[in-house]
Subunit: 229 residues, 2 copies
């Protein structure tokens, strides 16, 4: 069974305690130690590559991967684009989950954020406002803001999960040709609101600011959909 070989390779990584980036046995060694043909080994490795459990470098070797959430992004993107129902509904589902997550997380952030965290956010928002005055969009700063925001939680999964949903959303929007460009000034303002509430340790206010932020995104999403149909 192909699935079995895949599990064998995973088990091999676990048994040998191979960390991400460590080299795997060559295909020849794997076909010998697992007792299967090279084709089967390659199919298993290709599957693991798609799961980002393994990284294959042409002409160099195979290495343990980062086990990132890339497969989730691919899967959700495909699922959204292929959805039998219209994909606006599917995107709304993703947005709702992001919303619930960030609303719940901001509360915990407000409890534990320190002065250094606030300073870093201040720097980011400052750059946002600078870009906004120049009339430029700042998708990278947006990402960095949310990433930095949840840094203090010490939960490495959180930023990755949020980034995954963010990627799905924007990838689908790109494929569909939606130009969801809100006024940069408005976005900068929303982030400023969140930071202000955090500075005041105003948990409820931070939640409200985050909710407003998402309300804006939803509105844009709805408009873009209507414009296309």
């Amino acid at each position: 069974m192909g699935t079995q070989i895949r599990r064998d390779v995973m088990q091999l990584i676990l048994d040998r305690r191979l960390p991400p980036g460590a080299p795997l046995p060559t295909e020849a060694e794997l076909m010998e130690s697992l007792g299967v043909s090279r084709n089967s080994v390659r199919e298993a490795l290709k599957a693991l590559q798609a799961l980002d459990i393994v990284e294959i470098r042409h002409g160099y070797g195979t290495y343990v991967g980062q086990a990132s959430l890339t497969p989730l992004v691919d899967g959700l993107t495909f699922r959204t684009l292929a959805g039998v129902a219209d994909d606006h509904a599917a995107l709304t589902e993703i947005l709702q989950i992001r919303e619930v997550l960030e609303e719940g997380l901001i509360r915990r952030v407000a409890d534990g954020i320190g002065d250094d965290g606030l300073a870093r956010l201040e720097s980011i928002v400052g750059r946002m406002e600078g870009a906004a005055r120049a009339g430029e969009a700042f998708p990278d700063l947006d990402r960095t803001f949310h990433e930095t925001l949840y840094d203090t939680l010490g939960n490495a999964l959180v930023p990755q999960l949020l980034a995954a949903f963010w990627n799905v959303y924007h990838r689908v929007a790109k494929v569909r040709g939606w130009t969801s460009d809100p006024a940069p000034a408005v976005t900068a303002c929303r982030h400023r609101d969140i930071l202000t509430a955090l500075r005041a340790r105003d948990v409820a206010g931070a939640e409200r600011a985050m909710a407003d932020h998402f309300r804006g995104i939803e509105a844009r999403s709805g408009q873009a959909t209507l414009g296309v149909r």
Copy 2:
């Protein structure tokens, strides 16, 4: 490039508007229409199979898959088991995300749940209490409760995401040999608390009940870890 063939097959599915369960062209047809060898086609299909974008039935054919979150479960399980840091920390991260999600969701549920939803939950909690009196565990009922709870949101992604995290948690616990069996009576009581709060449209109470629920899970998890080390 192998990745390219994978994208071609995905694009083919999207272009032809193939719904989940629809048959894909045979390997022979794909190798002709994509102009690559059968091995390359098979490697791409195997990768897509791992992403649950395609389903391969031996001796029958290849079909469009459900694009479920199975790859997320596999990836997170692997990542947790392979984590350089101890896996209790990794499991806590997953638990924290479940917690944030369910706390945020319960609020929305409390707003919109109807009498039929409450009745279904009542039935489940009733069976829980019956099992608890008999001293039996009821993992299935637990799952069903949370699934039914979020049915009313109309967001198909929510139950799947929660189920994915649930699966990762319990799969890791199983591999690690943790016997995280709380007293069934306590678990039943926690669910009863949630239902009671929902019935009263008590949003804050429901949130608190859900938080208590997770506090119990975390405590058990910590104990199990200590017991093993």
